[in-house]
């Protein structure tokens, strides 16, 4: 019986020892090798004092070792915490401190970055995966693989133990860590395999970095089916033609990404002249897929089925809408219905269930739901809706904060975020967070960040007011943002205004600012 993620690899290593589990560029690793190497990493971590409940960081670009890092950390009993290497160093230090990471799994490519991180005060004890010596205990991958297999004593991992923590932006200006257990991650992995009928012959394209929940499908669901996951390199993501060539060469059968990547393939990948006849499922999530674009792609790949996936990171996935034929109208496609082991309600502001067809906020109860936010009980409590059945027994739902309504086919339609949190190219961005960073800058008195279209591209534009005394330039502010925010949250334009348009109650009129920017672009 499977009840933790580690057993996925053990099972596939028994059933298909010599089958490729992961591929990256010219490299690949079989299930047997992955099982062995992750045991060796786990053994090393345990000798360094890692125990159940600990958090171990992964600081890596996309590469083959990501798979060994994930399963090695899990096998040590710890939870893995992916850290985006493209984050500014201040952010990386924040994550490391926030969940008290003592050991970091990495590769030589991050050596320079790590050297900088180690310059300031930290509680790190070990860096795994570095060949050069640093001002801390390091060990190379080569040395990790030299450890004897019989030394590894497996850890008894319960389904309720933590498996990973994914950090996303928080409204207070600091990222929040979403905790998943082995149970919630495994429930997700199983539901995916069941819903899309994953087989061991499938080849899954993973374009997502580890800190993005879309990666769980490639790293957990695919191995559960003993399928092969192709890890797409950072370089391929920047060149649609190369990406299309890779997808064709790898004979990918299942694709999962944000719509943006598919749109780039469609327009710049020269896919008309390539063979994608193996593609049987195209899954997308993270943002709405413009129906016109979706239709154009579906017409090129008529043999594939498409699925619109919805679900905040707190829930992994929770709804889906499958399409066999291209949508007839340009209306946005539904997010569909909840999958198995999941139920939902649509509530009004007072937590009453709305009438069918009325707008309301979606709350979801599912086996795939998070354990809570790391080190933030108040935030966890605030995110839950508890429906009391009897004294001491309640059903717990997650408040998605998303506005939805049912259409006449009983399918959910996504209408938008309740608060100012937005999604841009699949990344979750809290407007308030960017504004807070801008306001931190000496001389900035007010800031309003809005989302608008620049040359048909959804972009962030920041508008600010200054005190008039300090030297504030748009360029300096951009540098300040780059140093403090993930790159996808850095505003494309920063405009210094003399005043803001206001509403009657004196609030900044964002709608007005948006139309001002639109007319000036």
């Amino acid at each position: 019986m499977l009840y933790n993620l580690v057993q996925i690899i053990e099972q596939s290593a028994k059933a298909f020892p010599n089958k490729g589990a992961f591929r990256y560029m010219e490299d690949s690793i079989t299930y047997k090798e992955l099982d062995i190497k992750s045991n060796q990493l786990a053994h090393y971590l345990i000798t360094r004092g890692v125990k159940k409940g600990d958090r171990v960081g992964i600081l890596m670009h996309r590469c083959l070792e990501t798979s060994i890092a994930i399963y090695g950390i899990l096998k040590s009993g710890a939870a893995y915490v992916p850290i985006d290497p493209f984050l500014p160093n201040e952010r990386i230090k924040f994550l490391i401190n926030d969940c008290d990471i003592k050991h970091l799994v990495s590769t030589d490519k991050q050596s320079k970055k790590i050297r900088k991180i180690l310059l300031s005060k930290h509680n790190l004890e070990t860096i795994i995966g570095l060949s050069d010596s640093q001002n801390i205990k390091t060990i190379s991958w080569k040395r990790v693989y030299e450890s004897l297999l019989e030394d590894y004593i497996s850890v008894d991992i319960l389904s309720d133990d933590l498996s990973y923590i994914l950090y996303t932006s928080g409204s207070t200006g600091l990222p929040k860590g979403i905790m998943h257990t082995h149970a919630s991650a495994l429930a997700f992995a199983k539901l995916v395999v069941d819903l899309y009928g994953f087989k061991h012959t499938d080849i899954i394209a993973n374009s997502a970095p580890l800190h993005f929940d879309v990666s769980i499908l490639g790293y957990c669901s695919a191995p559960l089916a003993s399928a092969t996951t192709v890890i797409i390199s950072d370089a391929h993501l920047k060149f649609p033609i190369s990406l299309a060539e890779l997808t064709e060469r790898e004979k990918v059968t299942i694709w999962y990404s944000v719509p943006l990547l598919l749109i780039e393939l469609l327009h710049k990948g020269d896919i008309q002249n390539k063979d994608f006849s193996n593609m049987r499922w195209v899954l997308f999530a993270g943002e709405a897929f413009a129906t016109k674009q979706l239709r154009a792609l579906m017409q090129l790949w008529p043999h594939a089925e498409f699925s619109n996936i919805y679900g905040p990171t707190e829930l992994n996935q929770c709804t889906y809408y499958n399409l066999k034929v291209p949508p007839k109208t340009d209306n946005p496609i539904p997010i569909g219905t909840t999958w198995k082991n999941t139920e939902y309600k649509i509530l009004d502001d007072k937590d009453n269930v709305v009438e069918p067809g009325e707008e309301g906020l979606l709350v979801v109860r599912s086996a795939t739901m998070m354990k809570g936010y790391w080190n933030n009980k108040a935030l966890t409590e605030a995110s839950l809706y508890k429906y009391k059945i009897a004294e001491g027994f309640e059903h717990v739902y997650y408040r998605t904060g998303d506005l939805v309504k049912l259409n006449s086919n009983n399918e959910l339609l996504f209408l938008g975020r309740k608060d100012s949190q937005i999604k841009l190219r699949g990344f979750r961005i809290e407007i308030g967070e960017i504004e807070n960073i801008l306001l931190n800058y000496q001389g900035v008195t007010e800031a309003a960040v809005i989302v608008t279209d620049i040359a048909k591209d959804k972009s962030l534009v920041a508008t600010i007011l200054t005190d008039g005394a300090s030297e504030v330039s748009e360029d300096n502010l951009t540098v300040h943002c780059k140093n403090n925010l993930p790159i996808y949250a850095v505003p494309k334009q920063i405009l210094i205004l003399k005043s803001f348009p206001r509403t009657s109650s004196g609030k900044i009129n964002r709608r007005e600012i948006a139309s001002m920017i639109k007319s000036s672009n």
Binding site: K109, K112, D234, K238, E245
Partner: protein, 78 residues
């Protein structure tokens, strides 16, 4: 040619300040020195600077992985 491109990347396109300077053999794409938008800007820069036209089918990893690759590619166009 190499120097011009390196300087432009260091001063205009790099996501973060490159402390020890950029080398012609550094991996521009995998290491996150430039992001997708930066790559687009780099292509326009090359087109203007060397008065060449980068055809869509030439927009591939092999031509843009490193500054060295870029220079080799440009030379085939001159």
């Amino acid at each position: 040619m190499e120097k011009t491109i390196i300087k432009h990347i260091e001063n205009e396109l790099a996501v973060e300040v490159i402390e020890d300077g950029l080398e012609a053999s550094d991996d521009l794409l995998g290491s996150g020195i430039v992001d997708s938008l930066g790559m687009m800007k780099l292509v326009s820069f090359i087109e203007e600077q060397f008065t060449i036209e980068v055809a869509p089918e030439e927009m591939v990893i092999d031509n843009f992985m490193t500054v060295k690759n870029i220079c080799e590619y440009i030379k085939t166009k001159l």
